[in-house]
């Protein structure tokens, strides 16, 4: 390259470096504006996107207009574009600005209504069943408490369904039960915020330990559209699971093998999926302490679950099998079934998907045994679980994200974000043909 061409290239780089902070600021503003639009319009209520809920955000209801599909989807697309911009410009964002942006997004969602899902009311219902009514939530669905004030808000599909969450999470939710529906709702929101803050702090720590840009890592997780709008917006317990998952990763990096394995087990006693990390962690570290730590935590957790809820409280396999049979229109297996001209997923497809998942798991275990990054292998496993699940919800495809941003295999991050992008694209049909 000639000297003139080199100096021209240097000049262009300097110019783009000058513009980068301004572009990043614009992207950040887009994220804040999109979140505020969804929350303020959602606070008005009477929207198919906002579940029936106590008026916790009533003081915001005079500002926006009723949230329709079109506005919601445009806001999500704008959020995603801003997020993609921040991904590209991540290196130019300072630590202070990144934390401030994430804090603002969290604060906006925190003061707003519950978005897009009735799950949080199921959590409260299960807690109230156990504490206020003395009914085992592992044996009965919320239909057992039809006169409780929370029953009115539980999703229609879940009224007959007993809890599928782990005993640790159910016990964690019990202190919220006596607070009433509104108090419990705020309690769940605070829990989601704390879990998110913990997850992001641990992502930061792990990224630094792996010499990955921690600012980019927390931006990719904490400013992710599915994370902010769907997961935080719905105060989902997946955030508690993610915090324990990242605690396990962080402890493994610090070579504290027994507590790390115990943290995975604790996460699995919140939501079973995170147990997928354990084989990769053990294969990578090959330490006896991990196995003892996992076994000790498992025995303790199961004992507590058994004492609190009986055998049904620890029968995770039955709960997983029941959930695995559910089918949602957003799942990739359903989409592939439509592509090949089938109306949906059949029982044989469930078996094929499980077989595929086993093959992927075995391949990843072999790769980890042969030195592949166990964090990446765990992320791939979680991504495979969500992609092959016939019951896919937005927050399921967040599971691999904190691992993807700290993994040594960049393909995992690209794949995770691509799957999330496809999920958002799949929501767009009402944008092209709104039903009157």
């Amino acid at each position: 390259m000639s000297v003139a061409a080199q100096s021209e290239l240097r000049l262009a780089r300097t110019r783009s470096a000058q513009w980068a902070p301004a572009l990043a600021a614009v992207c950040a503003l887009v994220l804040v504006a999109a979140t505020a639009e969804i929350v303020l319009d959602g606070a008005v209520g009477h929207s198919a996107l906002i579940p029936k809920s106590p008026q916790i955000a009533g003081w915001l209801s005079g500002i926006g207009e009723r949230l329709g599909f079109r506005v919601f989807l445009i806001a999500i697309l704008a959020f995603s574009a801003g997020y993609a911009g921040l991904w590209a410009l991540g290196r130019t964002v300072s630590k202070r600005w990144a934390i401030a942006l994430i804090a603002v997004l969290h604060a906006i969602v925190f003061v707003g209504p519950i978005l897009l899902s009735t799950d949080v009311f199921s959590y409260i219902a299960y807690a109230r069943m156990g504490v206020e009514h003395g009914i085992n939530p592992y044996l009965h669905g919320p239909i057992a408490i039809p006169h409780d004030p929370v029953y009115h808000y539980v999703g229609q599909d879940w009224k007959l369904v007993a809890t599928a969450y782990g005993p640790l999470y159910t016990l964690l939710s019990y202190p919220f039960a006596p607070l009433g529906v509104e108090g419990a709702l705020w309690g769940m929101k605070v829990l989601a915020m704390l879990a998110s803050a913990g997850t992001l702090a641990l992502v930061w720590r792990c990224a630094r330990l792996r010499e990955i840009n921690p600012v980019g890592a927390i931006l990719l997780v904490g400013a992710n559209p599915l994370y902010v709008i769907y997961c935080l917006g719905g105060a989902h317990n997946d955030l508690v699971m993610l915090a324990l998952m990242m605690a396990a990763v962080s402890l493994t990096f610090a070579r504290r093998d027994a507590p790390a394995a115990a943290a995975v087990v604790a996460g699995a006693l919140v939501k079973a999926t995170v147990a997928a990390l354990l084989p990769f962690m053990i294969l990578a570290r090959r330490s006896r302490a991990q196995i003892f730590g996992a076994l000790a935590a498992l025995v303790l957790g199961l004992l507590i679950g058994l004492l609190a809820f009986g055998v049904d409280g620890i029968n995770v396999i039955a709960a997983l099998n029941r959930d695995a049979a559910f089918v949602s229109s957003d799942s990739f297996p359903t989409e592939i079934a439509h592509l090949v001209g089938k109306p949906g997923v059949f029982p044989i497809d469930h078996d094929l998907l499980k077989a595929g998942l086993v093959v992927v798991g075995l391949h990843l275990m072999w790769r980890t045994w042969r030195g592949y990054d166990w964090v990446a292998a765990s992320g791939w496993a979680l991504l495979a679980i969500s992609v092959t699940s016939s019951w896919l919800l937005a927050w399921y495809i967040l599971w691999p994200l904190p691992l993807a941003v700290i993994s040594r295999d960049r393909r995992l991050l690209v794949a995770t974000l691509a799957v999330q992008a496809l999920f958002i694209v799949h929501q767009l049909a009402p944008l092209f043909a709104p039903v009157s």
């Binding site: 090959r286 439509h338 109306p343 042969r370 030195g371 691509a418 496809l422 049909a429 709104p434």
Partner: protein
């Protein structure tokens, strides 16, 4: 074998070299075979990604067509009945996945399903913003479109035995 190797590690030394665990991944640094594995994985991932992308776009197109059809169905019901009601419901054929839809709405003003309902079987292509209503039936107030509630069938549904009485 080093003197300080743990019993666990000494056990692994008995395995053939190909099966022994490694401490670091060497799949990307030009090791014969392993580099190829990384490329094969990447190709498989790209193919899976392509399949998911095609399936997603196909589903969005299908949903868009269905939404368009439902809009036309509602317009057709309003056109045939002369009632410009907002709360009219359209149901798709979820048994045989044909494009024959059933659209139901009140015969007189009232809350959704609050009056005697008229259901029309809408079928065929969209012509001038409408589809053809081949026939239909009535439902009593507050009843869902279930076989046992249907009465007064007319058109092809009458011959097909859609109404129990």
């Amino acid at each position: 074998m080093s003197a300080d190797a743990t019993p666990l590690k000494r056990g692994w030394q008995r395995l053939p070299a190909q099966l022994r665990p490694r401490d670091a991944d060497r799949s990307k640094i030009g090791q014969p075979g392993s580099g190829r594995l990384w490329r094969v994985e990447t190709v498989v991932l790209l193919l899976v990604g392509l399949l998911l992308a095609i399936a997603t776009v196909n589903d969005v197109v299908l949903a868009t067509h269905t939404n368009h059809r439902l809009v036309v169905d509602l317009r057709t019901w309003r056109h045939y009945t002369g009632h410009n009601y907002k709360n009219v419901s359209a149901e798709q054929d979820i048994r045989k996945y044909t494009t024959t839809d059933v659209v139901c709405g009140n015969t007189t003003p009232g809350p959704p399903k609050g009056r005697i309902q008229l259901c029309l079987q809408v079928t065929g292509p969209t012509v001038k913003g409408l589809r053809a209503a081949r026939g239909g039936w009535y439902l009593p107030p507050k009843a869902d479109n279930l076989h046992r509630y249907r009465y007064g069938c007319f058109g092809p549904p009458k011959q097909q035995g859609v109404c129990p009485r």
